[in-house]
């Protein structure tokens, strides 16, 4: 059965995953430059090897309160419309899932989160939610 590799990360106690192809790299703690009046979940910008990228807090995109967690990680992701940086609570492992074993997104998932998901898996007894990156990023516009 075909497998998909998911880069996982943690947000508000949940485990989320993105196809590894969509993740260019994962950065540790970063100093962000603020962008006043930005809105849309943008919390600042950073310079990645000469390229200036906007940083969006995933929590803001799905209507969760922002935390000042020092373990935060920054996922450099490439969606349909270019490169963005997502701030997540902390980084996770790369997990292989069997494509045929997807389960429906649990009913109890809040709508603000569920609308950005493309499916879910059960991995070693834990729920893993798969994020549709383009839908998540388009939510900003």
């Amino acid at each position: 059965m075909p497998e998909t590799l998911l880069a996982t990360f943690h947000v508000a106690g949940m485990t989320w995953g993105l196809p590894v192809d969509a993740v260019r790299e994962v950065l540790g703690d970063q100093v962000l430059q603020p962008v006043p009046r930005a809105g849309h979940g943008v919390i600042g910008m950073l310079n990645l090897r000469g390229r200036v990228l906007a940083v969006t807090d995933v929590r803001l995109l799905v209507g969760l309160p922002v935390t000042a967690d020092e373990a935060a990680a920054f996922y450099v992701v490439e969606g349909r419309r270019g490169i963005d940086v997502l701030r997540v609570d902390h980084a996770g492992e790369v997990v292989a899932v069997q494509d045929g074993c997807a389960i429906p997104v649990p009913q109890a998932t809040p709508a603000a989160i569920a609308q950005h998901l493309s499916g879910a898996f059960e991995v070693e007894g834990h729920l893993l939610l798969v994020v549709d990156l383009n839908r998540l990023l388009d939510a900003k516009d």
């Binding site: 430059q33 603020p34 009046r37 310079n47 090897r49 000469g50 969006t56």
Partner: protein
């Protein structure tokens, strides 16, 4: 690749460039027929093509070039005079050679053309004998400095833009790596010296890569000369094309982006905008129409304007079309301003399709032009005045350019302001604040060189907390799009050479930033779009920050001081206002029939606007509010009840009034206000001619 293929490739590259130059030279020759240098260059190009064709066995093309060369030789000798018909036959030759080269490129052979009609045209032109009265120009030695030319051509090579992009990224990485290394280099010693060398070389490299990407705007605009000439000739119109700012250097990518929109705009102008010579004469315009193209780097962006002096755009017709195309509701239509009506032409299905001709109708609407520009973060605006002409302005961000900029601090953060927009830096000590700063209707105004500038607080504008370091007020006087204002910042820092980078995708659409740059410590820093604070402050001084996109700015808007006199709102052009005074009634003296007060060591005549305009009685109070203005080179004081606001408005939109001292009535900030005609007010309001402005300056 065989030797033949290599030769053909070289021939194609060289000839394509030469032909583009020929187009320009031929059009230039038409207005400068005696220029021997131009003629020699044209002759040489055709001669070279002929020679190479012989070598490559392109017999037909060689014959064609030969016929052209014959005509050019006679032109050079002065036995044939150049006129429009001769130019046309030569341009026909250029077009045909270009067509053949396209076939050569595809097939490696010269194809199956019949050149006889082109050659016949060229021969016919040779019959246009010079009249004996014309003194043949002195024969110019052809003596082509062949070696020199060959050397010049070999010094340039074509490079794929993608390679340059990559080179650019590598240089950025190198710069950052250098900074990281620098933190560990001791202050002196051998390593320090080597590091200084590295620093200098890195900087050189950065500049050189940048230069490699730059190209004059003329690369995109020069070809318009030929287009205008052909189109005007075919339409029977007389059009002069004036290009300004062609030497401005921009990223090659910008030239690429401009190419098609410019052709489209110029075609539209000649085809639809400009009237026939007899129509123009009947309208009292000069028979020769003008299309102006002006390019400039303004702030963080590049701007190019295409202006014609033709008939203008029919806004009412666009409204009808937009309604018919389902793009506009009839209700909404009644509320549009003239600029908004004209801007309807950017909506899909509205571009004046019924006027499309065989030449300008290429099936591309203005909606496509606009969406192409928006894709790269640019914009296009239009202004039009019926009977006077139309201006299109294309703005594109400078995605890659070095912009001298001023770093300012506001709150915890740094921002940059394009140096070109900075007119002055003013530091106001608290002890001077009362003299230099006034407050009107919630807007602070700065006295600066005889005028009053509205102040915008950068921290308020950005919605952040200021942390003013000292007691002094640091003000950057910004001049942008004819608007001058003072930007209050926490501290003014250094001037830097900022490498402009595009805003990250998630930040596009934010009107307050023009781009972003990376400072020497590696931190990104936003470049302020300086027109935005002025528009925001001007339109609604007390409203908080918004993230709404700003309306297209109308360059004809001017600032006005709005004052109340006997419940009437009056607008006084702010450019003429020097100062606001409070005068005790008891200090008023009389000089003849005029009321005067002492002012800056001289005498200031007062005009009671309520009496002059006969608009009911002003409030009676012990202190008078006086607006000191200049008109016809003199200072006068206008007595008003209250000064309310500074607002921006376009005086051209004022409705005419039958009152000599008012130049019209317009809507300012949603309410009617009467525009004061200062010169008339002075002429009617003072019995004695006012004296010159007092010696002291505000």
């Amino acid at each position: 690749v065989s030797l033949d293929e290599e030769l053909i490739q070289a021939f194609l590259e060289e000839s394509t460039e030469n032909l583009d130059q020929l187009d320009l030279d031929l059009v230039a020759l038409e207005s400068d027929a005696d220029n021997p240098e131009l003629l020699s260059r044209i002759f040489r190009t055709i001669h070279t093509i002929k020679g190479t064709c012989g070598f490559l066995n392109f017999g037909d093309l060689e014959g064609l070039a030969h016929a052209g060369e014959d005509l050019l030789a006679e032109l050079r000798d002065g036995t044939v005079t150049l006129d429009a018909a001769v130019t046309s036959s030569l341009l026909g030759l250029v077009d045909r050679i270009r067509a053949v080269l396209a076939v050569v490129e595809r097939t490696g052979t010269e194809g199956d053309f019949d050149h006889s009609s082109v050659i016949a045209d060229l021969r016919q032109s040779r019959q246009r004998r010079a009249t004996p009265a014309v003194v043949p120009p002195a024969p110019t030695p052809l003596a082509p400095p062949e070696g020199l030319i060959a050397a010049a051509e070999e010094t340039s090579v074509r490079i794929d833009v993608a390679v340059l992009d990559h080179l650019q990224d590598l240089v950025s990485e190198l710069t950052l790596a250098r900074l990281r290394v620098g933190a560990h280099v001791p202050d002196d010693g051998g390593l320090a010296q080597a590091f200084r060398q590295l620093t200098a070389t890195t900087r050189d490299l950065q500049d050189t890569v940048m230069q490699a990407r730059l190209q004059p705007v003329s690369t995109a605009t020069d070809r318009l000369r030929r287009i205008v000439r052909d189109l005007a000739a075919r339409e029977g119109k007389v059009v002069h094309l004036h290009i300004e700012g062609g030497d401005v250097l921009v990223d090659k990518a910008i030239n690429e982006v401009l190419r098609d929109p410019l052709v489209h705009l110029v075609r539209n102008a000649v085809d639809h905008g400009i009237e026939f010579p007899e129509q123009r004469t009947a309208l009292g315009k000069s028979a020769e129409a003008t299309v102006r193209i002006e390019a400039a780097v303004i702030g963080g962006g590049f701007q190019i304007e295409v202006t014609d002096d033709g008939r203008g755009i029919n806004g009412a017709r666009l409204v009808d079309k937009a309604i018919a195309a389902g793009q506009l509701s009839a209700d909404r239509a009644t509320t549009l301003t003239e600029t908004e009506r004209v801007s309807l032409l950017f909506l899909p299905g509205v571009s004046t399709a019924s006027e499309v001709t065989t030449i300008s109708g290429r099936g591309v609407g203005m909606d496509v032009v606009r969406s192409n520009l928006e894709q790269i973060g640019g914009s296009i605006d239009v202004w039009s005045e019926p009977g006077m002409g139309t201006t299109f302005r294309i703005s594109v961000p400078l995605t890659l350019a070095i912009l001298p900029a001023l770093v300012v601090r506001c709150g915890q953060d740094r921002y940059t302001i394009p140096q070109a927009d900075v007119q002055a830096i003013v530091r106001v000590h608290p002890s001077n604040a009362r003299d230099l700063i006034e407050e009107v209707g919630g807007v602070r105004l700065l006295h600066h060189h005889q005028s009053l500038l509205p102040l915008v607080n950068l921290a308020d504008y950005l919605g952040i907390t200021a942390t003013a370091a000292g007691e002094d007020l640091e003000i950057v006087v910004v001049e942008r799009l004819d608007r001058t204002y003072g930007l209050v910042v926490d501290a003014v820092g250094d001037s830097v050479e900022a490498v402009v980078k595009p805003l990250p995708r998630a930040l596009r659409g934010l009107a307050c930033y023009a781009g972003v740059t990376v400072l020497s410590d590696g931190q990104p820093c936003l470049i302020l779009e300086t027109s935005a604070p002025a528009i925001e402050a001007g339109l609604s001084p007390q409203s908080g920050p918004t993230t709404e996109p700003l309306p297209p700015s109308d360059p004809n808007q001017r600032p006005f001081l709005v004052a109340t006199v006997a419940d009437n709102r009056l607008a006084i052009p702010l450019d003429h206002v020097h100062r606001l005074l409070t005068v005790a009634s008891s200090t008023i003296e009389h000089s003849g029939h005029d009321e005067v007060v002492q002012y800056q060591g001289g005498i200031l005549g007062l005009i009671r606007l309520d009496r002059l305009l006969d608009i009911g009685a002003a409030q009676d109070s012990a202190d008078l509010t006086v607006v000191v203005c200049s008109a016809t080179g003199a200072a006068v004081g206008l007595v008003v009840d209250e000064v309310n606001d500074i607002e921006w408005a376009n005086p051209a939109q004022a409705e005419h009034l039958e009152e000599p001292c008012l130049s019209g009535r317009m809507v300012i900030a949603g309410r009617a206000a009467d525009l004061v005609a200062l010169d008339a007010v002075v002429a009617h309001g003072l019995h004695r001619h006012p004296g010159p402005t007092g010696g002291g300056h505000a």
